[in-house]
Symmetry: C2
Subunit: 182 residues, 2 copies
């Protein structure tokens, strides 16, 4: 018997995608009913909010097919095998922004889409950036944007920054680490 009276009867792969895969589950519910539930499997990942010594955050601007629009996000990526979240976050930071860091600090973990995806992302910040070299995948096209922290908070409130991991990292860093007042 699983948590809280739920019991997984079976889980079947129905489509293996490029990054995520679709499974179908049969769950026995606490009331005895059996339900079909969706389950998206994701390799997990990590993201890092880069903060310059001048108090600006560095965001990546990129096209996202899921929304058919360009979004502003913190550098992020999926895990390579079983690597630690810190390793993923440091790699993506350097590849996407051209800054590296000797040390990153954990903010929190986040479950982006708890209703259907097993994805968990580790969220970090780095405020001791060292200039390095951007190193994008052949298929990536990314522009960098530097925004003062307080303005980035305003852009989360106004909806100009709308990506969940990015908003979580900016708000948590701004109010609980940098302790800005609003």
């Amino acid at each position: 018997m699983g948590a809280d009276g739920y019991k997984k009867l079976d889980r079947t792969l129905v489509h293996k995608g490029v990054v995520v895969s679709f499974y179908k589950e049969h769950m026995k519910l606490p009331n005895g009913n059996v339900a079909d539930w969706d389950y998206i499997a994701h390799p997990g990942g990590a993201a890092c909010l880069p903060v310059t010594k001048d108090g600006e955050v560095i965001l990546v601007s990129q096209y996202r097919n899921s929304q058919d629009r360009i979004t502003l996000e913190i550098p992020a990526g999926k895990k390579d095998g079983n690597e630690a979240n810190e390793v993923t976050a440091l790699r993506e930071l350097e590849e996407e922004t051209g800054y590296r860091a000797d040390k990153i600090t954990h903010l929190t973990d986040t479950i982006p889409a708890v209703g259907y995806s097993d994805e968990v992302l580790g969220l970090f910040y780095a405020d001791n950036l060292i200039e390095s070299k951007q190193n994008l995948d052949e298929d990536e096209k990314i522009d960098l944007v530097k925004i003062p922290l307080r303005k980035a908070v305003d852009m989360c409130v106004s909806g100009e920054i709308i990506d969940s991991k990015t908003v979580t990292a900016i708000l948590m860093y701004a109010f609980t680490v940098a302790k800005i007042t609003y």
Copy 2:
């Protein structure tokens, strides 16, 4: 030609799930390469942070198969057809918590999983709650938890609250509406 030099060549349904469906896309990239990309279609939804007159937030505790664990979340649900976000948010608030509200206030919208899902959630808060009656779906099993706002912020920072929409709503409400200091 789509945004920023990307062009969608085709999108094909590979599996229709209970709530979300899996599509496969062929995209022409700015560098001329053609890539397979995943695309999860979701009906969209809304969520509402309920705040009592005593400054407590009301969260729902429920089992989530995607994580095989119980999570603390604000009441949320998917849209019924083309209804407005406010309608979804007000309905889910009342059904899941047993409180209704005459008025809710928009906080922001959020894209939970921009890498693969088209989901957009409208986030609201309600601080003028009126006692009503919980009205769960037959298959829902939900416990209610009331937590002082400042403690809820602490639980976001510590990772006890980890669901992305819930953390976004609590942090944005606490720091930009209630203007707590940390």
